[in-house]
Amino acid sequence: MTEIQWHDRLEPALAQSRESGKPLLVFIWTPE
């Protein structure tokens, strides 16, 4: 079972996005 690896800061996520060529998905949520 795959689990999504969530970043918690923008810059490292953007760096990984640039490196991998994958777009960045930002999920903005409120606790349910």
Partner: protein, 164 residues
């Protein structure tokens, strides 16, 4: 989203394979919130913002999406990402994939609209009109079909090569 859609096996796999993911709790004063959302405000959640690696916004979408709807949405985003990179054939592949794989999804007519925009780069106006006609025929009630109805003046349509 967090309890149904993201834990869905197909969603988790697709996100992991095709996206880098960042989660921001709207209730916390997240230090990167403004850099993600920009000058707009987050009036409601869940909110999804999609960025390229340079931080350029590809798309944003408000509200809950069930797994199938979300998968269609993610395909559409990948098409927009490819289009932003001028990878035209790849983008059309993703856009057409939305309508082929998830024909009843909210994103399907929009994906066909964007397929037409992408096709303009390689096929010009005739390619756009052909795809607009296809969109209007397949999703006549869609808001995206309303964007293309009666746009092409009759004299322009008459001058287009016959499609048989």
């Amino acid at each position: 989203m967090g309890t149904v859609t993201y834990p869905h096996a197909q969603v988790a796999e697709f996100v992991s394979e095709h996206f880098v993911a960042l989660k921001i709790n709207l209730k916390e004063r997240h230090p990167d919130f403004k850099d993600v959302v920009g000058r707009a405000k987050a009036l409601w959640s869940p909110l999804h913002v999609y960025l390229d690696g340079r931080g350029n916004e590809l798309r944003r979408n408000i509200g809950y999406l069930a797994p199938e709807e979300f998968l269609a949405e993610l395909h559409l985003v990948l098409g927009l990402s490819a289009l932003m990179r001028s990878a035209i054939d790849e983008s059309i592949g993703w856009f057409e994939g939305v309508a082929a794989t998830y024909p009843r999804a909210l994103a399907a007519p929009e994906a066909l609209y964007w397929a037409a925009a992408a096709a303009y780069r390689s096929g010009g106006i005739p390619a756009v009109v052909a795809r607009w006609d296809d969109l209007a025929e397949r999703y006549p009630e869609s808001p995206w079909a309303r964007r293309v109805l009666d746009v092409v003046p009759p004299e322009v349509r008459a001058a287009l090569p016959s499609r048989g």
